[in-house]
Subunit: 251 residues, 6 copies
């Protein structure tokens, strides 16, 4: 497929021009003008680029690309290595950050719900739809301990759980990645539990003092599913050869 | 001691008026005008306040107080409970954030070095002294695996280690708390390893691709030592009854 | 009534989520969860809180609450005394600032028009409806001197009048509180007179040089009527016991 | 004297290039290039300009000139009339705002102290010398009522007094003009009374609840003395013909 | 015509209240209240004002007026001379900047297209209609050299051309004045050539490296036509005596 | 020489860490770690990179590099081509913008003075030394016409001259590049003429109305000399092979 056509299709279905973000979305680094072989992944790290070179890919499609607000703009250090590898092998880098968190079908939040069997009841913040994340319910009421084990089984990664393991949990709010700052939204809504990828020190106190369960299940582990789903979609839509490559990350 | 005297002594030795911070430093909530019994701790959580009430303390001295920039200013939810407990029991809340990270004797960074036997060679960023943290060396060259075990033993908490466990480490940069964003400073300086309290997803890639060891040893665990040391100092200086209370926190 | 229900009713009728303001509107300090006895007033001063304690009120409803932009956020000095008094007596503090200025029925501006017999013809600034205040006409044409006496009689407070006491006034613009900065809007609209609660030095020159009458009738005196009217409304609507308490203020 | 010489002399002694202000200081409107006859006053109002034309002045020297931050920049309405009058008559407008508040000899604050017999002990804010105003003592301890009468006699204008008229006052902080926002500085310093030119609604509560006397003595009345003194100085220094003209202002 | 009526008519047809700009639009300097004789021009320079005085005009209508963001606000130097000349002769200054660039009939961009015979196909940036400028086609395909000669003949000014003079050009984007920063928009849209009034160093490289023709035809020369056309319109509409005066400017 | 050593030497002599700029200064794109062959030029355009590849250079040293504030950060279009060419050929890009304008020996301003025989008397703005540019005198008093011809001869490029060609010029202010906005500084200082690389529409009026001569001599033409001189310095200092390549630019 022509790169131009693929990018403008993705921009449109992900509504990327309408979403304010901390990085540019869409084509971030230009490679070859036609694309046949695509590698999808979470983060455009050196490891993922090397895997893409191995696969002779024309494009990498990720959730975490480059050019974050405030980043050093010089092409030195690891940024030089990454860009050199891409440019030398004519590999396009295509990245969607918030648009991929928020998509109602391929988005990280909706895909994570699928993996965990969560029922989606609505957005995390119904007064501000620019906030990613959702509220919903567990597949069935579970104790904190049971749900912790369920997460470990579904994501293949032990979560950190703040809360009593014997309490029963029915309702849950979640947001993939590093969304510990949204815990208050779950508290305000009177939800039993909040799940995200990272945790920080103040969130532990807020969870404990409000009696809200907190599950920290891994930034990478919770954001693995959107890029994979989007890749499967374009494989179908444009008859491309797409491979999802999961570079392991403990965080 | 008169509260006024204690606060103005602390403000002076910690140079708190000269340090820009994300919260007000010094007296944050006013209680009784004289202070005899002080509880020190990391964070002014409900748990710490209740322990202070039990101890019949006149003041709580912490690293993490209240009124962070951008925080909801209303006195509702957990903030109401905390303020009500303090005001009802006439307990002063005294908090020093960055000034306590940076103090050359009682500071979190210098105290952590003491606990881990690290030799302090200089500031983390010698062009910007407003950045907390230090560079230095391990007690003796160790492999990544040995140093990981050493941290676990000193802090009583297993660190997360990114890097090869067989590599030898001699030089180290560290900054207590959530300083994962400073990893680049250690990389630029050519240091073998970086230690802080938290980790995030991009830091894993930066560490791996530059071959810099990263140790995430706990926000709470790395910031436990400054408030304790400062408490011991004022116990001596003003003949106060001071107790350090460690409310456990897994993050 | 449950506090939650009362607040969400007030937030809705005052449209407080849609109005940008210099303070949070709605519940500012949480007290008891049900409310039966309410004291209304202009400003949540120590005097008003003490009167509310005397009345055994569960809630105070005011126009001027706390947590103004740029205010020192520490709980010390008079803020400590006020919060301690509220929290110790479980009194909710409910405050609406701009939303109470602007409400078309209970708002300060419309209520002041009622007290002075002014006919409301439209908003003060018909290009920017976020500006509070109105334009309209006197009950009948009066000289500057007559209208000054009329204000004194209606508000029980002598206004300061800039302008010739013999001139006839028919049209008037007004905005309660400290709205001296809006005099230019009245001038641009060719209105005879402007009335607000405060005056400053440049406004005297602008009034004199454009021949526009200026009446400064007291910040407190002009903003007394909105909280009172809103209190009467909720007394009816929720069958509450509501008392308006006017703590005298010469400004 | 050549205008250029006069302005550069004034800029230097008032250190106007070093003081951040809300308006440009120095020459604001250019008239004739040599200056012999000067009118001084508080505010460059139409009334003052007309008096200067009457006096055949070459320059007006004031505390309140034009071009305030946020002001409409168009030359219409009263601004057109003022500029037209100045430009048609070749009258220079020279204005010093904060530099004239703060000068240690000719400044408004020091000159007001002279008029009221106050002893100057230091700056109002000794940690931030960019804040105008001073702290000091009354000529002798007086009751609130006595000091109120004393102000009325010295300034020929009745002040508004918040506080008990029987209390004795010894120490005082003051800042000319509209400095009601600095009351907290006087409270923090434990001063008995605060005097400025204007008052607002929150200041009344702060004064009452902290037991600090507040005297509001008129914006114009308190700022009359700096321009007058500076005029006398340049009359001497450059052998100019200088007249101070006081356009009455009740605020 | 009454000035008020003329200005409010112009404000309305140019929609000047809805367009964010770097200067105030509409009446900038007030002169006589009725207007009969108008001079139009590009810039309200001293030369144009003197010509207007000669013509005994009541108003000057221009594209470039005064009071640009960041401009020194003092009335000294050339600004004093200009304002003095206007105010002394009671001449109104009326200026429309972006609203005159963008008007679909009298606007500079549409008028320039007329002069050059360009066909207007749409806005320069169809995602952001606040950007002035258009895309379209040449009267007929020409080589770079031919089009350069055509511009010289139509505008009576030699353009600077970056590009091969033998290449054929069909499509063109243009924006009058100093719009060199918009070249990238033409490049992104795949247009053959871009025409504006000024050029700068980076634009030369961008044009060369993307193979886009760049014609720099003079800031003044390209912005001459809007004010002229608008003047002809008001001459008709209000039966005014209107003269366009072109003060030559090589830039 | 090791790249690290060369860069840190240049950073130090140009004091680049102390100068705020619109781009990062020093190493912008990393190539080989040792440097032997250097190409110097004005702008890191595709043309200059290709010349450097031809010359088998290890580094390009320029005045205009990449990563300007506000620039699109994506690696697409001409930016992709430039970076790909650099990274594929392991060529370091070293750029100094303001530090190279301002250096007292190798700086663009001082070097231009040398080429034109101007005597340097001091900085352009002696109250703000962060402003580049100088004031001084012509080699001997010349008429505007003579000086225009002299510039054409020295720089091999016809300047644009605003002013009377018969007037005598003795004093001059200059600033290389696009410094038309600094003309007011020359006017304020009473200098006869101002020379820079570009001109815009308002500068023509300011020059004419104040009687100050303006010479626009080409952005590129005036900024050619600093990079050349710095290249000669490092050739000597580090025994490198350095070639200056002038890619012609009419602006």
């Amino acid at each position: 497929v022509a790169r131009k056509e693929l990018i403008s299709h993705l921009d449109r279905i992900l509504q990327s021009k309408k979403i304010r973000d901390y990085c540019p979305n869409g084509l971030q680094v230009a490679g070859s003008e036609t694309i046949q072989k695509v590698v999808t992944g979470v983060t455009a790290s050196q490891g993922l680029i090397e895997a893409a070179i191995e696969e002779e890919a024309d494009a990498i499609l990720v959730h975490h690309g480059y050019f974050w607000k405030g980043e050093d703009e010089r092409v030195i250090g690891i940024k030089k290595e990454r860009l050199k590898a891409l440019l030398t092998h004519d590999i396009n880098l295509i990245a969607y950050h918030l648009p991929l968190d928020m998509h109602p079908v391929y988005g990280n939040n909706v895909q994570l719900a699928d993996v965990l069997g969560l029922q989606v009841d609505g957005p995390l913040d119904d007064e501000d739809l620019s906030v990613p994340g959702n509220v919903g319910r567990l597949p069935r009421p579970m104790t904190g301990g049971e749900f912790s084990a369920w997460i470990a089984q579904c994501l293949q990664r032990e979560p950190l759980h703040i809360g009593e393991s014997g309490d029963t949990i029915e309702t849950i709010a979640w947001c993939t990645g590093g969304a510990q700052g949204y815990l208050q939204k779950a508290v305000d809504a009177g939800i039993d539990a909040f799940l995200t990828g990272e945790i920080n020190e103040p969130a532990v106190h807020l969870a404990r003092e409000t009696g809200t369960h907190f599950f920290s299940a891994g930034h990478h582990a919770t954001e693995r599913y959107g890029a994979k789903a989007l890749g499967e979609y374009i494989a179908d839509e444009f008859d491309l050869d797409v491979t999802f490559i999961d570079i392991d990350n403990p965080v």
